[in-house]
């Protein structure tokens, strides 16, 4: 069954997913005071790849990815691709749950076992995924206003602490740290919307996929860049790199007339909201792709075992807060590059060749697979 998502809700879904849990970390730490350059470079590199994601989605318009993959590659190779994306989404969900539980334990619930917090997130994600993509998209279209509003409001309150001298001198350490920072931001989170192939079954128009992917990603990139640069300008480059959660420490400095303080708690709530959406999308993709890999049309009956397996998985992939920050701020890992760059490129090239062949055979027919 295809689930229709309006363009506006699709944009909100992609933007909130990309924002996700990423802004709790000091993004692009390798670049230090030049992180804004890393963000700009990452955005320039990400743009063609995200356009390819959108183009691929547009080429398969009117079909679910399962149907399109089967037509492109045949039955078994398409199932192998689906299994790969299912494992990728499952691993991503495990990492996000691990991040959020560690964040909660470090900052507030120090005596609560991580597994309790993880189970809470997973039960909620399981619930919303069972209701389907449409509910998820509606929820994100409401929540993005709250998340972005709260964070931007908090950043405005931080304005008196901002010092733009923290960005000087520009590129003192050369261009290499900027490139490393850009690759880190690309890997996590700018190219993670690749899994949205499996989420956006039906959009209102053929061109909607471009709006959804490009506007959603650009919104998220700008938002993340603003958060990172303001956090750095408040804390200074050295502290920004050394803190586990710089945005949290930067907002802790807000003090409006000894009245408005402890604003970091509000940031904590927004991290929980956007992180929850990311977990839910990952559970949805892991279940949908697995259903295709196993040859089932419906995915909902697989949601419970997939979601429950994420709780032990979150304790498996990363076990310490240092490990979590390392995994969040690492430079592109091979498996991520493979699933975010290599596979989409192969899918896109194959789809273009197929369509051009069909165009030669049937002139005048609509050019989709």
């Amino acid at each position: 069954m295809k689930e229709l998502i309006p363009t506006r809700q699709g944009i909100a879904l992609v933007a909130l997913f990309t924002i996700g849990n990423s802004f709790i970390y000091g993004m692009a730490p390798h670049a230090g005071r030049d992180l804004w350059l890393s963000f700009l470079l990452a955005a320039v590199i990400a743009l063609p790849l995200i356009t390819i994601y959108a183009r691929l989605h547009s080429l398969t318009y009117g079909q679910t990815l399962s149907e399109a993959l089967t037509q492109l590659f045949g039955k078994w190779p398409s199932r192998a691709v689906a299994l790969g994306y299912s494992l990728f989404a499952w691993r991503l969900a495990c990492l996000v749950v691990g991040d959020l539980t560690s964040f909660v334990q470090t900052t507030s619930l120090t005596q609560t076992p991580q597994i309790v917090v993880a189970a809470g997130f997973i039960i909620l994600a399981l619930w919303i995924v069972k209701y389907g993509t449409e509910v998820l998209a509606r929820w994100s279209s409401i929540m993005i206003v709250i998340v972005v509003g709260i964070i931007l409001g908090t950043l405005v309150l931080m304005w008196s602490e901002v010092s733009f001298e923290a960005f000087l001198p520009i590129m003192y350490d050369g261009f290499k740290p900027v490139i490393l920072g850009a690759f880190q931001v690309l890997d996590f989170p700018l190219l993670e919307p690749v899994i949205f192939f499996w989420v956006l079954d039906a959009l209102p128009e053929k061109k909607s996929s471009y709006k959804v992917f490009l506007i959603g990603s650009l919104m998220a990139t700008s938002f993340l860049m603003i958060i990172a640069t303001i956090s750095l300008s408040v804390l200074g480059a050295d502290k920004y790199v050394s803190y586990y959660f710089p945005i949290f420490m930067a907002t802790a400095r807000i003090d409006v007339a000894n009245f408005l303080t402890r604003m970091e708690l509000v940031v904590g709530v927004t991290i929980a909201l956007s992180g929850f959406l990311k977990i839910a999308v990952c559970v949805l993709v892991a279940s949908k792709a697995l259903a295709h890999a196993l040859g089932f049309k419906d995915y909902r009956f697989l949601v419970t075992p997939v979601a429950l397996s994420i709780v032990p998985g979150s304790q498996w992939f990363v076990q310490t807060i240092m490990g979590i920050v390392e995994s969040g701020t690492k430079i592109a890992s091979p498996s991520d590059v493979f699933m975010q760059v290599v596979v989409p490129l192969l899918l896109w090239i194959t789809a273009e060749i197929r369509i051009s062949k069909q165009g030669e055979n049937k002139a005048g027919k609509p050019n989709s697979i």
Partner: protein
């Protein structure tokens, strides 16, 4: 504790299967298999907390590191 984990998974599986309006055998089999895998992973992580994480493409990372000394560190 292992017994509690397994009991939890059996309970969830039993209740959910009971709530299904129809139970096609293929879907039931896939569901039980995946639930079994989730339970096995939970028990394994509990018994072996330092279980190594499989990295099928780790050799590529090593190769890139060698090609670009210091890259990725």
């Amino acid at each position: 504790m292992v017994g509690v984990i397994i009991f939890g998974f059996v309970l969830i599986g039993g209740i959910e299967l009971y709530c299904w309006p129809q139970r096609p055998w293929k879907e039931v089999l896939a569901y039980l298999l995946l639930l079994g895998l989730a339970a096995a992973l939970s028990v394994t992580i509990y018994l072996v907390p330092d279980l190594p994480v499989p990295e099928p493409l780790a050799f590529l990372a090593k190769l890139i590191m060698r090609l670009w000394q210091g890259g990725g560190k």
